[in-house]
Amino acid sequence: MEHKELDRMVEIIDHEIKKQGISRRDAMKMAAAGSAAFMMGGTSASAATTAHAGDVKGKILIVGGGLAGISTAARLTNTLSNPDITVVEPTDTSVSYQPGQTLVGAGLWQKSDITYQTKDFVPSGVKMIKDKVVEFNPDNNKVKLASGKEIAYDFMIVAAGVMLDFGKINGLEGVITSSGENSSARKIVGKNGISSIYFADGAVDTWANMQKFIEDAKGGKKVKGVFTHPNTPIKCGGAPKKIMYLTDARLREAGARENADLTFYPNGSKMFGVTEYHNAITRQFEDRNMQWNYRHNLISVDSAKKTATFNRHWKEKGPWDEDLEEYSIVMNSKEVEVPYDFLHITPPMKAPDEIAKSPIGSAKGWVPVTKETLQHIKYPNVFSLGDIAAVPMGKTGGSARKQYKVVVENLISQANGKELKSKYAGYTVCPLITSIGTVMLAEFNWTKKPTPSFPFDPTQERWMWWLLKYYALKPMTVYGMLSGRA
């Protein structure tokens, strides 16, 4: 981290602390206590998993060794006596800290700050296989790996991730993962202002592109920044906005904000599914003179012309519908071409084909589970969590942090013929970075109401959450979650 940001942060913190009339020492205590409460509290699984809950005999196969898969493996290892656990994961750095990619994209962290080697986090006794499952045969409790090897299991936990489908956008290529091989996507993404923080190398390139963008603005050029959000479920629903807030902050820091137009083009028609957060975000956008155009889905990028083409769609009044006893609504759309200097792409995301099209997949691709128990809807000895699971609103590390405990408890219950009592309530969290030094900690669940862990107004931007995001969440995730304890 550069000293400039450090100094600025300390300045902000001191200013805030003074405003509240407390000492810095007390403030730090509060932040620490707050962080502790954050990791412990929440609205989902009771931690009642105990050594006496029952044991699991038989082979447990975990497909995917990212944050969700390794945390689950670790908790099973902590909980069971002498478990037989195998994890299949193709990427060496699968446990890298993806939430930090936003900070890398804005030049606040380095890629080395977020890169972690999976082998360093494999719980003792767990067998890691560097390979990929290419065929699922759940009726016979078997999978086949790319190497041709077959693995039989008694229980399977599907904790694979999402595919970033850049290739779905005309002019771009590649279906990649966050920390895996990405040369296809990088042919175009990362150069000439085209950026994406959704993969680690892309985040590094984003910072290079952003610096150029800011230099141009500083030199007096009128520049346009365009930020997209696709029509698919995505991981970390806040990241498309966070990188925009940070671009705004970097432009202000450079004294060049007035030369830049920043516009958000989401496919949807709101900022956030939770009204309170939606209202807070629109207010923050207005305060920063950041623009938005709803109902725009990116379909094409012309890197030579520097234009992005969107499908703009809207509802129109249609003919009278006798069944509905109302005028019907019909969809209409047209293509809109938008010039850019800096384009941040949030790619469409999908389940890997080998899962989506297998018997454990679904029409939409995601692994269908009972959303509370995380048990597969067809195969009782299969569970799923993390980005690949079909649950509403999930796909964050915060969701996985609640889900893996539920999976472990319910798998043990299932193995012992007991009722699956542990329930996931849909908790997820979006520490929405609103500037360098402030974060709005948006926590919510399926009730679509804010579910704050702290007794503060959750719609306010606070420096304390910045401390949480900037300093505490990474060690808590990397050392707390990956060891199966937090």
Partner: protein, 163 residues
């Protein structure tokens, strides 16, 4: 600045020793004036068909090809306008219609409706996830389904597989 790091990291370290507390949040209780069957028979049926088979002409999708957990996600989407911050919804038109239908009293709990739809219309029943300590999947009760030649009754809950 180092002090900040130390303070927060020590808090994080302390966490290693503690578990996770809290109780499940069941959400707000909403009561509905009609049962899922009443809502379906009086409203949904007009477009989605007697047996949930859908209506191509009206662009109404079939509801008999998915199990309740998948249906529930779609119904949740229809009622909430999308499952992600700004991704939008797969159900633009139905989202609008649903608001109108709610005004007319045809509101429902997505989970209860999804379970009704699966029980009554699901046609690809292979095997249902066992519901331990609950009654096994019931034979469809509505007369429409009972006469549906295509309907295969969902297999009774299997025993938990490996022990």
């Amino acid at each position: 600045m180092k002090k900040i790091n130390i303070a927060i990291l020590s808090a994080a370290t302390a966490l290693f020793l503690v578990g996770c507390g809290g109780t499940p949040d069941a959400g707000e209780a909403i009561s509905y004036s009609k049962t899922p069957k009443e809502v379906y028979d009086q409203s949904c049926k007009k477009c989605h068909g007697d047996k949930g088979e859908g209506n191509v002409k009206k662009k109404s999708p079939a509801l008999n090809d998915r199990q309740s957990q998948e249906l529930e996600l779609d119904l949740y989407d229809v009622k909430n306008g999308g499952l992600n911050q700004s991704s939008g919804t797969d159900h633009d038109v139905m989202e609008h219609n649903m608001q109108k239908l709610i005004q007319k009293g045809y509101d429902y709990d997505p989970k209860a409706m999804a379970e009704f739809l699966e029980k009554s219309f699901y046609k690809n029943g292979v095997k249902a996830a066992p519901k331990v300590e609950e009654t096994p999947a019931e034979v469809p009760t509505t007369t429409e389904t009972a006469t549906d030649a295509n309907a295969t009754v969902a297999a009774p809950a299997e025993e938990a597989k490996p022990q």
